[in-house]
C-alpha cells in the first residue's frame, strides 16, 4: 500500500509542475487564472490539514489568510516608515509565522471545545478580528492598507512561481503528516476522540499542532496575495470565502492527499463556467451541490475512485 501512497504524491507534485510550466509559457490572463486556482488549492490543503484530518469544523479558517495578508501590509508600512524593506520571501514567511502564532494562542482555549461549540467559536473569532480591523484606524478600517511601491513589485509570473513553491510545500507536508504519528493521531481523533486518548494519543497536543500548521499555510497564501495586489482588505476575512475551500475538499475527498488538489481544480473550472453561464445563480447551484455531495458522496472523488480501485487491490491517498 505504501508504494501507491507514493504515487499519489508523485501525481500531485507532477500536476503542480505541469501547471507551473504551462503558467510560465501562457499569456498573463491564463497565468492569473492559474494563480487564483493554486491559491485556492493552498487554502484547501491548509484547511484539510486541520479540518480534513481531525474532523473539527473550522468555519473561521479565513482569519489566518487575512491575518497573513495584514502581517505583510502592516510590516511593509511600518518598515518603510523607518526607511527599511525586506526581501519578499521574508514578508511571506512572516505572514505564515504570525498566523501560526495566532492559532497557537487562540487554539489553546477553543480546541477544548467539541463539535458545534468549536464551529461557533471559530466563526466568532473570525468575525471579531474582521470587525476589529474594520474599525481600527491604524489598520485602514474598511478601506484596507495599500503598499504599492513599499515592497519590490513582481510580475505575475514571478508571484506564480512563489505561490507554486508554497503549494509544493503544503502537498509534501500533507504527505508527511499522513504517514507519521500526527496523521494517525488526527484520524483517530476524527473517528473517536475519547478512544484516541485512551490509545495514547495526546489529543490536545495533536489538535493544536494541526491547527497551527494549517494556519501557517493559510497565512503564507494571504502573504503572497498581498504582494500580488499590493494591498490587504478586510474582505479577505469574509466568511463566504470558506465556501470555496470546503467545497474543494469535499469534492476531492476530505482528509486525503489528492482530494484538495482534485477538488480545487474541478471547483475552479466549474465555478468559472457557471459564473459565465449563470452569473447570479452559481452560488445557489454550489449550495445544492454541496448538500448532495455531503449526503451521498461524503468521501468525495478519491473515495469513489477507491471503491473502484479496491477491487484491484489499489488505493489512492
Amino acid at each position: 500500500m505504501r508504494g501507491i501512497g507514493f504515487n499519489s504524491l508523485t501525481m500531485s507534485l507532477g500536476f503542480l509542475i505541469l501547471i507551473g510550466i504551462y503558467g510560465m509559457v501562457a499569456d498573463t490572463a491564463t497565468t492569473s487564472y492559474l494563480h487564483a486556482m493554486v491559491e485556492l488549492m493552498i487554502l484547501a490543503y491548509s484547511l484539510n490539514l486541520f479540518t480534513g484530518l481531525s474532523g473539527y469544523a473550522n468555519f473561521g479558517h479565513v482569519v489566518f489568510y487575512g491575518l497573513g495578508a495584514y502581517t505583510v501590509s502592516v510590516s511593509a508600512v511600518g518598515l518603510s516608515s523607518m526607511g527599511m524593506s525586506l526581501p519578499t520571501p521574508v514578508y511571506v514567511l512572516g505572514a505564515g509565522v504570525f498566523a501560526a502564532i495566532f492559532a497557537l494562542v487562540i487554539g489553546f482555549p477553543i480546541l477544548r471545545l467539541r463539535g458545534d461549540y468549536f464551529a461557533i467559536a471559530t466563526l466568532g473569532i473570525n468575525e471579531a478580528v474582521r470587525v476589529t480591523i474594520c474599525n481600527t484606524k491604524e489598520l485602514g478600517e474598511g478601506r484596507g492598507i495599500y503598499i504599492l511601491g513599499l515592497v519590490p513589485s513582481y510580475d505575475i509570473k514571478m508571484l506564480y512561481i512563489q505561490l507554486l513553491l508554497v503549494a509544493f510545500a503544503v502537498v509534501v507536508t500533507t504527505h508527511i503528516v499522513l504517514k507519521t504519528k500526527l496523521g494517525y493521531g488526527l484520524r483517530a481523533i476524527r473517528a473517536d476522540e475519547d478512544v484516541a486518548e485512551i490509545m495514547g494519543v495526546n489529543t490536545s497536543k495533536y489538535k493544536i499542532m494541526a491547527y497551527a500548521l494549517g494556519a501557517f499555510f493559510a497565512g503564507l497564501a494571504g502573504g503572497v496575495v498581498t504582494l500580488q495586489f499590493a494591498c490587504s482588505f478586510p474582505e479577505y476575512l469574509f466568511i463566504g470565502r470558506s465556501v470555496d475551500m470546503f467545497s474543494a475538499i469535499i469534492i476531492g475527498g476530505i482528509g486525503t492527499l489528492l482530494g484538495p488538489l482534485i477538488g480545487s481544480v474541478i471547483f475552479w473550472i466549474v465555478k468559472d463556467a457557471l459564473l459565465i453561464q449563470f452569473p447570479y445563480f452559481h452560488l445557489i447551484i454550489f449550495g445544492v451541490a454541496l448538500i448532495v455531495l455531503i449526503l451521498f458522496f461524503p468521501r468525495g472523488i478519491v473515495g469513489l475512485a477507491n471503491r473502484v480501485l479496491a477491487k484491484r487491490g489499489k488505493v489512492l491517498e
Binding site: A57, D116, Y117
Partner: protein
Amino acid sequence: MAFELLAQTIINGLFIGFLFGLAGMGLTLIFGIMRILNFAHGAIIMLGAYTAFWIFILYSINPLVAILIGTVAGLIFGVVLYMILVNRLVRAPALASLLALFGVSMILENSMLNLWSPNPRSIPVDYPTISYGLVTISGSRVLVSIVAIAASVLLLATLKWTRFGRMIRATVQDSRAATLMGVDVNKVYALGFSIGIALAFLAGGLLALIYPFEPFGGLQYALYSFVVVVLGTLGNPAGCLFAGLIIGLIHSITGSYWTLNMSPAVAYLILVLTFLLRPGGIMAGRE
C-alpha cells in the same frame, strides 16, 4: 445628560434583548431536541424578514398580522426543510450536518439576493414614540418586545404544561429513553425543528420593524444567536431569554459609549470568554 444617556442605553438594550432572546430560542430548541446546530439560522431570520415584508407590501395589511402570517409560513418552511434534508442529518457526523446547513444558508442567501436585490429594506411603519424627559422610547421597539415576550412565554408554557411539551423535554433529556417511553421521536424532531424555524421567522419579521435588512445580513444575527444560546446554555430555552437581555445590553452599551460597529466584536469576545471560563459546563462530555 449622563444619566439620561445611561437610561436610554439600558432601555434600548433591554428592548432589543428580548428580540435576541427570541432569535436564540429557535436555535436552542432545535439544538436541544436534535443535537443539530442550525447553521442556516441567520439566513432563515432574513427570510423571515423578507416574508413579513412582502406580505405587508403586497396585501397592505397590519404589519403585525403580516408577521404572524409569516411565522406560520415559517412553520411550513420548517416542515418542508425537515422532510427534504434535516431528517437525514440527525444521525450524521457534526461536520456533515454543519456543512449541509451551511449549504442551505448559501442557497437561501443567494436566492434572496436574486429575487429581491441586495438593497436594504425595512417595513415602513411609524409607531408613536413615548417620551419621558430626555429619554425616548420608540413605539416599534415596545411593540416588538411585547410580541417577543408573548411568544417566549407561550413557548415556555407549551414546553412546561402540554403533552407535546413533555414529549419535547423528554427527547431533550434523552432521545433513546424517550423512544422507549413511547414518544414518537421523529414527530418530535419534525415539529420541534419547524417551531424553531417559525421562531426564527418571527424574529426576522419583528427585526424588520426596527432595523433595515438585506440578503446577507443574517450572519450578524446568527452570531448573536450563537452567543445567546451559549451564554444561556445550549438547549435551554429559558436561559436564552436571560442571555438575550445581557447581549442586548452589551450591544446597546457598546453602541452608546464606543461605537455600534464594535458591538459584534464585543459580543464574540464575551462568547470566547464564556467558553474559557465555563469549559466544564459547555463541553460535550460523553459517557
